[in-house]
């Protein structure tokens, strides 16, 4: 196990390097620069600003400089917010996204697993179709529709919540539901599929024939096998959830990292984009690693793959 983990760590370094290089060139080659604005500045001033950030040097030299900074852990300044460094912005906004993501995951897991389990136990009955139908809503209604609908109903008409913001504990509810709905739907389906597969195995039938009750059967045998596909799915997805969703953060006015991902690309905030990309990549690989470890622990068969 330890060898497995260390090997993964070592493998991430060349991966990050490739990602950084690809990002760098892609950003620089895209038209439009950080200092383009509707009220254009004079060429002299633009030249000064570019010189200040080192953008006037030849491209390859900038690339090497950037790599050097990255190795030192310095993600650079933000163009859009002079005076703030990328490290700082990420450190400030990531905890918010992390909190939102965790709450959404809790919503997703609770609703999803519950729906999936119930549906698999009572396959093809109303108890199967209705929860799965509801779960479908999460997949078929985009977040930018679901969010405003929830706000309209619960915040504006019923006045139970604020329409936006992230100040009070109750502000977490609607965003978590909106973000979690999509994942809840997927988890419900995967869970149901996984459980069904296990429940139909011979050994389960044997246990049942021997008189073991429903819940006992579930929890002793099925859970392990049924959760496998959910964990596989969650691995890469968790990273996406935890680093913030642009749509949910915009609609609910949440100061998280997800928004920066998108706005940085639109603003050509080069260092911010690089920082976000690398941060996200590290996070994804970490989550994948955790997921793989959990998978191996759950399913000894896979240890030898």
């Amino acid at each position: 196990m330890l060898r497995f983990i260390t090997r993964r760590f070592l493998e991430t370094i060349p991966v990050l390097f490739i990602i950084a290089t690809a990002t760098f060139f892609m950003m620089r080659l895209t038209p439009g620069g950080p200092f383009d604005s509707e009220k254009q500045v004079s060429p002299e001033i633009r030249a000064r600003m570019e010189a200040h950030y080192g953008l006037d040097k030849p491209l390859f030299q900038q690339y090497l400089l950037q790599m050097k900074h990255l190795l030192q852990g310095d993600l650079g300044p933000s163009f859009k917010y002079p005076g703030r460094s990328v490290n700082e912005i990420i450190a400030d906004s990531f905890p918010v996204s992390l909190e939102l993501g965790c709450e959404a995951l809790v919503v997703a897991l609770v609703f999803g697993l519950a729906a999936g389990m119930v549906a698999s136990l009572k396959q093809n009955s109303a108890w199967d179709h209705i929860p799965m139908g509801l779960a479908m809503i999460g997949i078929c209604v985009p977040t930018f529709v679901l969010g405003p609908l929830l706000i309209s109903a619960f915040a504006l008409h019923l006045d139970w919540f604020n329409a936006a913001g992230w100040y009070f504990p109750r502000d977490r509810v609607l965003p978590a539901l909106t973000l979690g709905a999509y994942y809840a739907a997927y988890i419900a389906r995967l869970c149901r599929g996984g459980f069904l597969e296990v429940l139909n195995q011979d050994y389960i039938r044997t246990a049942r024939a021997k008189g073991a009750g429903g819940a006992q059967v579930l929890f002793k045998h099925a859970l392990r096998g049924g959760i496998l596909p959910v964990v596989s799915f969650l691995g890469p997805t968790v990273a996406g959830v935890l680093t913030g969703s642009f749509v949910v953060e915009t609609i609910f006015g949440i100061p998280g990292l997800g928004r920066f991902f998108v706005t940085a690309a639109f603003n050509r905030d080069y260092f911010m984009v690089m920082g976000s990309v690398l941060f996200y990549a590290c996070f994804v690989m970490a989550c994948n690693l955790v997921a793989d470890v959990v998978l191996v622990w759950l399913n000894p068969k896979m240890r030898f793959e």
């Binding site: 439009g32 620069g33 254009q40 000064r48 005076g83 609703f111 006045d159 604020n162």
Partner: protein
């Protein structure tokens, strides 16, 4: 299981009514404003946008400030001033009781050093041109001279500041409403880094020092900015608000929902469909007033067929601006038949575009495209935003119907669009100009030869001359006469096609007192106060 969880969530939501943030604000005199965006910087010499300006107005005070009702210059850091008979020398007498928020007195040297800083080429201030009326300021800013003593700003003593202009600029005082004219605490800035480093952290809440009615308390990016009443401000007794909360939500729908759910006292960006709704159903919550800006389409005169002025005029005449303002925009905007918004400092252009489809068809035929035959593909470039799209689509249909020409729409993402404009790489480009100060020159100077914001490739010597005449005299009649002639040329040559004049639609609660609409939408925070609404 669903049900229990839902109940728990709803319980957490709070049973029964809780006090809204606005009601709390009314009680504690905390004004909560939707500020349309996150300020990129709170350094007056670096900031460029409206969200920044709104916050800076509370944190700094220049020599004069704008009266909320009529935008007349009122004594700010300067308690009085004299203007020499030739209009070139302004002498300001600063208040002896003016203080920075750290207790230091505000002196004339502070102003001199602040203006020096703005004009430093190494700082790269984007609004440094606002200081160009000062003698030699432009030369210093472009690096042509390096001794700041040659620039027309001097501290005669601790409390007397003298400005020497290079020509009469009758609107100088109204230029001072812009943040570049603010004093900054140079000594404090130097403590935190180089004086010309844009990334200097002196504007962080823990470092911040300003001379305005409020001081910076909290600043959390994408979350909020909170400013508190400054005890050292010379006129603190007059300030009734205790705090101002700036909300940076950029999404118009989200901001409107926040207003509706009692989180904001005011929201300046209601979506068009909501504006119509409020005007009809809740007129006491919305104010619509003219704003100093014009929405135009720039025409690239270097690209055929737009190099023929008949084609340009035909396009400008073959559209129905009223249809656009009435059905698409619906927020009281006025159609624009010329460039400068009417009644800008008392000036209204007399030359108007005449909307006439048959005359337009005739012009087009004269230019060689009878009934739109053989008209080459022309693209309208705009940046991706719902309203721009709707307007472009409407115009596209109008041109098709009236002139039988097929104009293609091309929308580009913001930065790419700006880049295209800058490189004059477009046919027709959507553009908007918000005036920097209240005088027609802020609009008309745009299209002089070589102006960075011209971007149309159009150049007219007579137009340039007229703009120069207006810039070099203080005589209002002479200036406005020059403007009339210049704008007449503009409307004849049509390198740009005005579409509509901006209005500001603002959602604002009746609890907000002391606020008045004005054409640059500046806040006068000293006069604003809150009175809880009686239910």
């Amino acid at each position: 299981m669903y049900l229990t969880l839902l109940c728990l969530a709803l319980l957490a939501g709070g049973c029964g009514k809780h006090e809204t943030l606005v009601e709390i604000g009314d009680r504690t005199q905390e004004l909560r404003i939707g500020n349309e965006g996150e300020p990129a910087s709170l350094d007056p010499a670096v900031a460029t946008g409206v969200p920044e300006h709104n916050v800076l107005v509370s944190l700094f005070e220049s020599l004069v400030f704008a009266d909320g009702k009529d935008l007349s210059p009122r004594p700010g850091a300067a308690e009085s001033w004299e203007i020499s008979p030739d209009g070139i020398v302004y002498t300001f007498h600063l208040r002896k009781n003016g203080r920075w928020s750290n207790g230091d007195p505000v002196t004339a040297q502070d102003f001199v050093e602040s203006y020096h800083r703005v004009l430093m080429p190494s700082l790269g201030s984007q609004y440094s041109y606002m200081l160009y009326p000062l003698k030699n300021a432009e030369a210093f800013n472009l690096g042509k001279i390096t001794n700041f003593n040659e620039v027309g700003v001097k501290a005669l003593d601790d409390y007397t500041l003298q400005l020497t202009l290079h020509s009469q600029t009758p609107y100088l005082l109204s230029m001072m409403f812009q943040d570049s004219w603010d004093p900054v605490p140079v000594a404090v800035i130097k403590k935190h880094g180089a004086i010309d480093d844009r990334t200097n952290p002196w504007t962080r809440p823990e470092n911040f020092v300003g001379n305005g009615p409020f001081v910076l308390k909290e600043w959390r990016i994408n979350s909020h900015i909170l400013v508190e009443k400054s005890p050292t401000y010379w006129d603190a007794k007059k300030v009734r608000l205790n705090k101002i909360y700036f909300d940076p939500t950029e999404d118009a729908d989200t901001a409107e929902r926040m207003f509706r759910s009692g989180q904001l006292h005011s929201d300046t960006q209601p979506p068009p469909s909501k504006v119509a709704f409020y005007r009809k159903n809740k007129p006491d919550l919305i104010k619509v007033y003219p704003y100093l800006g014009t929405y135009i389409y720039k025409l690239n005169v270097t690209r055929p067929p737009l190099n023929d002025k008949r084609v340009r005029k035909a396009l400008a005449m073959a559209i129905d601006r009223n249809a656009i303002t009435e059905t698409i925009l619906r927020a009281g905007q006025e159609p624009a038949y010329f460039l400068t918004p009417p009644d800008t400092a008392g000036y209204t252009c007399q030359t108007k575009i005449k909307e006439d489809a048959s005359a337009a068809r005739q012009l087009l035929a004269e230019a060689g495209y009878p009934d739109g035959k053989n008209f080459p593909t022309v693209e309208v470039l705009f940046n991706t935003l719902q309203t721009h799209k709707a307007i472009a689509e409407a115009l596209q249909q109008m041109w098709k119907k009236n002139l039988n020409v097929n104009i293609v729409l091309h929308n580009e993402e913001w930065k790419v669009y700006l880049d295209s404009l800058r490189q004059t790489n477009y046919f027709i480009g959507r553009f908007a100009w918000i005036g920097d100060y209240v005088d027609p020159s802020t609009f008309l100077d745009l299209f002089t030869t070589g102006s960075g914001n011209n971007e149309t490739g159009w150049s007219n010597a007579e137009y340039d001359r007229l703009c120069r005449v207006a810039a070099n005299t203080g005589n209002r009649a002479a200036r406005y006469d020059a403007f009339q002639k210049a704008e007449a040329i503009l409307m004849d040559e049509m390198p740009i096609m005005p579409i509509y004049f901006y209005t500001q639609a603002r959602l604002i609660r009746p609890d907000v007192h002391g606020w008045y609409p004005n054409v640059i939408d500046d806040y006068d925070f000293k006069s604003i106060y809150l009175v809880p609404e009686k239910n």
